[in-house]
Symmetry: C2
Subunit: 471 residues, 2 copies
Amino acid sequence: MTPDEFRRYGREVVDWIADYYERIETFPVLSQVQPGDIRAQLPADPPEQGEPFEALLADLDRVILPGITHWQHPSYFAYFSANASGPAILGDLLASGLGVQGMLWSTSPAATELETHVLDWLATLLGLPERFSSGGPGGGVIQHSASDAALVALLAALHRVSGGRTEREGVASGRFAVYTSAQTHSSVEKACRIAGLGADALRKLDVDPVTLAARPEHLRELIERDVAEGVTPALVVASVGATGTGSVDPVRELATIAHETGAWLHVDAAWAGVAAVADEFRWLNDGVELADSYCTNPHKWLLTNFDCTAFWVADRAALVGALSILPEYLRNAATDAGAVIDYRDWHVPLGRRFRALKLWAVLRWYGAEGLREHIRSGVGLAQEFARLVASDDRFELVAPHPLSLVTFRLRAGDEATRAVMDTVNASGALFLTHTVVGGRTVLRFVVVSPQTERRHVLAAWDALRAAVPAG
Amino acid sequence: MTPDEFRRYGREVVDWIADYYERIETFPVLSQVQPGDIRAQLPADPPEQGEPFEALLADLDRVILPGITHWQHPSYFAYFSANASGPAILGDLLASGLGVQGMLWSTSPAATELETHVLDWLATLLGLPERFSSGGPGGGVIQHSASDAALVALLAALHRVSGGRTEREGVASGRFAVYTSAQTHSSVEKACRIAGLGADALRKLDVDPVTLAARPEHLRELIERDVAEGVTPALVVASVGATGTGSVDPVRELATIAHETGAWLHVDAAWAGVAAVADEFRWLNDGVELADSYCTNPHKWLLTNFDCTAFWVADRAALVGALSILPEYLRNAATDAGAVIDYRDWHVPLGRRFRALKLWAVLRWYGAEGLREHIRSGVGLAQEFARLVASDDRFELVAPHPLSLVTFRLRAGDEATRAVMDTVNASGALFLTHTVVGGRTVLRFVVVSPQTERRHVLAAWDALRAAVPAG
């Protein structure tokens, strides 16, 4: 494709995306296709000759769009959304166009230095402790996902707690345990399995029945039992805004207990952490100054399209120690001099996109003021939704909801709750998902999209009420 | 950013990229900045108020470009490049714009089904064995990198060889070993460390002194020794186009030996594998019909911008068994019915971009014919370069070079060889990198960019000759 063809088709794609956002409300939020419907419309064999770009755009509308669940739709209230924004999309486009691969500082110094810099900026914006700044022994990096962040936190923890023995001898050099709340994301169990500890190494902490936060006393009990049996506590993962209900663990207490035995304290604030950009949510950072690592996802609630997980460590030496391997073909003067960061040693992959560009674009386009406004809008709409739920005695709220996630259910029980969800999702008018809390089915309503306005929340509530089974 | 603002700035960014490719030869290939130079030009604090998008574009030129090592430059001959193309960049832009997250089939059925489909297409284009097709028990998925592919291959291997015990008990449930050529990419050692085996579990196979391919007899010896000592062979990684010199391991023999003891055979063809799109390079697939998994990177040599590693397994059950965890909040009817692929269970992260769009765009824009032409161009230019090297008796070729990587050195020794590399890299006229083979410094010259023409190769050779130290 020549530069002139790129100009022409590039404009068409830009217009296609702008049109998409203008007409997004005309689509059912949740795709209505059945398994196999999309593939049935694609040719069995790849094309022998090249095709015009117009053919792709036509198939995008005809074949692909019916199979899209519209994550950017203003009535998408499911999971934790992955919100995008214009500056993020364009920052990412610049990264694709430049096409550089920042595995080493020397393979594009700006890719590394901008990433370090914008993660310092983001730490400042969120009021994170100084220990995560790159000016000292810590620093930040962009990971693909919070699952990757949990995994590399575990690897760094094992490296530190074993005195580096796991690097050569692996995890059979000891018996290790990992602790997290029973409310926590499956990423911690997945990390245990990937890192070779197995699911049996994971200890699930009991939670407070009202706040659903992990109980520190239970952590202490479990650690004492493990230590007595010769098991080494390696990692404690505290959730700030757990996936199911948004519960916030007592980071300070958990960190204190973890550190008494030398375990690493990782804070997973994937969805909620970015809310600390607004002063009134700085309480989310309570105790984080004791954490060894911290992650939050601008791709969830800070206007940056997937993937962009911000991950910081207080001591980058443990992380790099766990992951660094330097074959001859990657050696270069800057690395040998030790004067630079080589981000390949901070995560699983070797190669890496220039993802800092999109985060830079977001932070500059919105500024701190714009980011605060975005967070406040989501929280405000979620609080309004919660008031509506509370006002209808057929419904009940389930857990504290200080941010943009509201959990609720029908008093009539699990079956009625599921029925309401299935009805509204099948309608295409909105999309929300469920979880189970204390054995009961609970619906989750999340507002993080910059597209979502008050009218969408009110319409969602009307649809939910209308879907309540009679009787 | 409103849709109309997006149209406006989107056009500016598209034009910026088109201009970039038109003027790319005006930049030094290897960035000439010193550590800290880029950060020194960035404001210490993030902006309080939002800034116009023009400010970002201005800083892109002023601050970022000097810190870019231009991977898309026609005179970039370093590492294995990460080539981009217009259709790939625009396909990726569409993915950013749609902003869907395909962790589950239900979270955007088209994202999953298109990915499965284009990986079937790519397997067809490369002549890969039927066992990797999604029509049977196998199938393909896009991973971030070949390092991720090696890691998940190891996890699947451990799951299978342990009869699923590693899932709960971890790798301490046995003693496991992994085998690969001494020429192989550091990703295999990194995978061993991440998966909790530690570097000691890695056995490096001796290589043939001429072809630099792994010696099957040595694999047999090592496996017999391990089995005798109660160690379970878990994984053998065969390289088809190893990173250092492009050596090709005897996949058939290695697979046969691996399977005698129940070990998994993974083929890492990250750079070279895509060459099989042309009939004359189908020999690269010899023995691959015996492999349990296979990966090749369209982001290296098939015109698809980073990241896009194509990874196939012959038996997806082992992979999913190793990685699947289904918390309540991810349950849905399609998954419960078992009728669909949920790609979250095929890799480390939970969330995932719609990366199939860019690969679809590439396969359709170029067609099989265009892809073959691209591969043949790279190989042809590399062969011409090799002839030039052979014609100058101050230089010598080091290893077989049937594809687009040529390894060579100065007969005058390591110091002279390094000096030539340092001189041409510092000039900015081209960029190439080195490795060490048999204790000797060797230069690597890789031609994979669609931008590279004959004149760039000839100019590179002239620059290399001119840089030879006198005497």
